[in-house]
Symmetry: C2
Subunit: 208 residues, 2 copies
């Protein structure tokens, strides 16, 4: 059903436009959210908008790994119990949170801030690759240090991984990438052949 | 999968809390939206929050029908081509928009601002029922005026309709309610018996 765009008030229409500009929020949801906010006490709405403004205006990034941070150096980089000679290179903040969630990683990170994508107009200089090279170049005994390229398995991810590999290989650091293969619970029958192929070539000793 | 609540920054965590407080927005979506806003230019984010603040701070309601309005009297109430002797009583702003969308109604509205609900602690005095009575009492020749009770078919809706009926019946105005029955495209087999019963008792002359 087409939605009538005749809003009873320009204030409401502006708010619906603003909320509807968020990704994944349609105009009907935007209207629902706007009318919800209208019913809330003023201080709640101001608290809501202030939290968003503060995030955008006052956000800081870790000087070392470029992760969102409250201080100059983030809590992960300043954690002495973590292995600072193991750097996991990821595209964005959410990837760090996902990997942290696994509880399986005890090194540090490097957030690229995006991925090389000629179509989206994102080149290597738009990312924090230069900072990564500086970090890697400062390693003593680089052969015992490791850079994990934890990028997505699509064309952009592979391109970015290859570009970074070329940049940091000369420093003599160990470079690894994420294991690819069938996910837990995945059905062999429905796996795509590229993934299944990688699962076969990357097979591991069975440990019952 | 449980979501790790260890955010890298309190600013991010506050923004996710705020966005996640919206109805129907989970914490994962809230994080996605917060990181989206973080990537936008500052002026876009300020425009976004200002539209919401202005809606909440500067919203006005029509003096006559209590609909959201830019001016003192809304565009519907001030439209001379509409029948001001036919008042459609609805729960909220969205209901007005839904009925306007049909293009089938040319009277005016009265927005109650909620529905009588003892469970939610909403009584008649929390709604604009008194204003409705004043409007109805001012009709000349009330018997040719009409009040349509366009409330939802649940217990709260029926209760509210009955309460309003009791309040305005003494003025001698014609009181109607929305037709109930099978929706267009509804399957007889799957209709609940109350709806189907209403469809039978309210049957109409077949006009092919």
């Amino acid at each position: 059903m087409a939605f009538n765009e005749h809003y009873p008030s320009s204030l409401l229409s502006d708010a619906v436009d603003a909320i509807g500009s968020l990704p994944g929020v349609g105009r009907r949801s935007a209207l629902r959210l706007a009318l919800h906010l209208l019913k809330q006490p003023k201080e709640n709405v101001h608290h809501f908008t202030e939290a968003i403004n503060r995030l955008r205006d006052e956000v800081r990034y870790c000087r070392v790994c470029k992760m969102i941070s409250d201080g100059e150096v983030c809590s992960i980089c300043s954690d002495r119990s973590r292995d600072s000679r193991m750097i996991c290179v990821v595209e964005n903040v959410r990837d760090v949170m996902s990997i942290e969630e696994t509880g399986q990683y005890h090194g540090v990170y490097h957030v690229l801030g995006g991925i090389i994508s000629p179509i989206a107009g994102v080149g290597p200089s738009d990312l924090t690759i230069k900072d990564l090279c500086e970090r890697v170049s400062s390693f003593e005994e680089p052969s015992s240090a490791e850079v994990i390229l934890a990028l997505s398995g699509d064309v952009e991810g592979e391109t970015t991984a290859f570009y970074i590999y070329r940049q940091i290989a000369p420093f003599g650091v160990k470079i690894t990438s994420l294991a690819r293969g069938l996910g837990f619970g995945d059905d062999l029958e429905y796996a795509d052949s590229l993934t299944l192929g990688r699962s076969i070539t990357g097979r591991q000793i069975f440990k019952p």
